[in-house]
Amino acid sequence: MDDFVLRALAAGCGIALMAGPLGSFVVWRRMAYFGDTLAHSALLGVALGFLLGVNPLVGVVGVCVALALALVGLQRHRALASDTVLGILSHSSLSLGLVAIAFLETLRVDLISYLFGDILSVTPADLAWIYGGGAVALGGLVLLWRRLLAVTVDEDLARVEGMPVEALRLAFMLLIALVIAAAMKIVGILLITSLLIIPAAAARRFSRTPEMMAGLASVFGMAAVLGGLYASLTWDLPGGPSVVVAAAALFLASAVVPVRS
């Protein structure tokens, strides 16, 4: 097998591994649209990263955190429904990113690869980012696991029990931002959310505990990466979309498999 294929496999499986548990939380907390909004803002982060001469991944995490903070602030006002706020931020940040990249004349960016990913051009440096970021994200998740679950079940109860609800919410957004920064190059910013939520949704029916759902979601995600990559190499299909199609097929299959209750 060629090196680039091995790197693609390693990168895809690394992303799927961290997307499983985090994606489960996105599903439980009904934050799919929020994840999409963060992902869309990532392009602006790339542009800012180039502009400021720092690693684009740092720019992505920075912009995601700024957006998460802005969202928390805007949601506190409740003048607009949160899906409206998300819709405004999602599309304006994506457009702002596209405009910013157009302004950077010296910069030659392969826009399509940022939007839809380019899993077959993963470099060893990308792999280091994915596994480094993944270790941080999963470690943080393990540390906060019980309290994040409590906040997901009921914020008022968590607050009465003395949990720092706002801080936990922010920490969760940070973890999502990390995953987006790491996964951007693999599946592209338009498709990242699908890797978070589709494997988790497929895992729900077979899970009796939150941990089981998180683990199964990782396994399903890796299976989608394998299937998608295989299809991509066999029929010369775009990598990111093939992985998402494979995940969707897995989800459909999971919905019809009978489960003993």
């Binding site: 019980r146 008022d156 009465v160 729900r204």
Partner: protein
């Protein structure tokens, strides 16, 4: 206390002592839930204080709880989320609340009355000094209410905790409570259940339900202006636990 610029509660003085059951009653919009949220520290008071004994542990039983169907969570696991507890303590709390048989059920599958008791078990796990129960009679039928209140009364004796209860139906609560605070944006009247039942303001609020026709005048701790606002009353807004 203000919410969104509106005065929700004014001049409320409330104390709950250990081992005592205090019931808040009042019509919808009277500010019962707001007062409870202030005691719990979920909303801030515009003026006044909520004083708590240092280290006071509060066990909160909310009106309802909706857990997203996508979260696979058993009752047992639900109880273990809020603090590090041993499996034995979880089972004991469930048994004490009378729902030991539900330990392995998904928390989304239990009925309204069962969920109330699961939430009671959850509150007990914190070994509370003060139990705060927000309308525990809402999701339960009359038989279930009597059962639940009997259980709460037992608990305050075995645990020695104070109980702050919110209710809109005085009849089920009356026999079980030590003191009643009747709220309608301010404290209308308070005292023993008997006192409150005979109070003219209580009777005008719950006219149809007051079953005792003898008019009894008891001391009034504030006067009312023509528009119904309190013109003279307690000198501070404070709650003690």
């Amino acid at each position: 206390m203000r919410l969104g610029g509106r005065v929700i509660l004014d001049r409320v003085d409330l104390q709950v002592r250990p081992g005592e059951i205090v019931t808040l009653i009042g019509p919808n919009g009277a500010g019962k839930t707001t007062l409870v949220r202030a005691v719990l520290g979920l909303v801030r008071t515009a003026s006044g204080t909520v004083g708590k004994r240092p280290g006071l542990r509060i066990g909160y039983m909310p009106q309802r709880l909706t857990v997203d169907a996508t979260l696979p969570l058993t009752v047992r696991r639900f109880l273990a989320l809020w603090r590090p507890v041993t499996a034995d303590r979880v089972e004991a709390a469930l048994a004490e609340a009378g729902v030991a048989h539900l330990a392995g059920s998904p928390v989304q599958n239990v009925s309204g009355g069962e969920l109330q008791r699961v939430l009671l078990a959850r509150a007990l796990l914190g070994d509370p000094d003060l139990l705060v129960l927000d309308e525990p009679d809402q999701a339960v039928d009359v038989h279930g209410q009597a059962e639940l209140f009997g259980r709460i009364e037992t608990l305050r004796r075995t645990h020695g905790c104070g109980v702050l209860l919110v209710s809109h139906d005085l009849h089920t609560v009356m026999a079980r409570t030590d003191r009643v605070l009747c709220l309608n944006r301010h404290v209308c009247c308070h005292g023993t259940p008997e006192d409150v039942r005979r109070h003219p303001e209580y009777r005008s609020l719950f006219g149809g339900h007051a079953d005792d026709l003898a008019v009894y005048v008891h001391h009034h701790d504030h006067a009312h202006a023509a528009n119904g606002t309190v013109v003279q009353g307690h000198d501070g807004d404070c709650c003690h636990g």
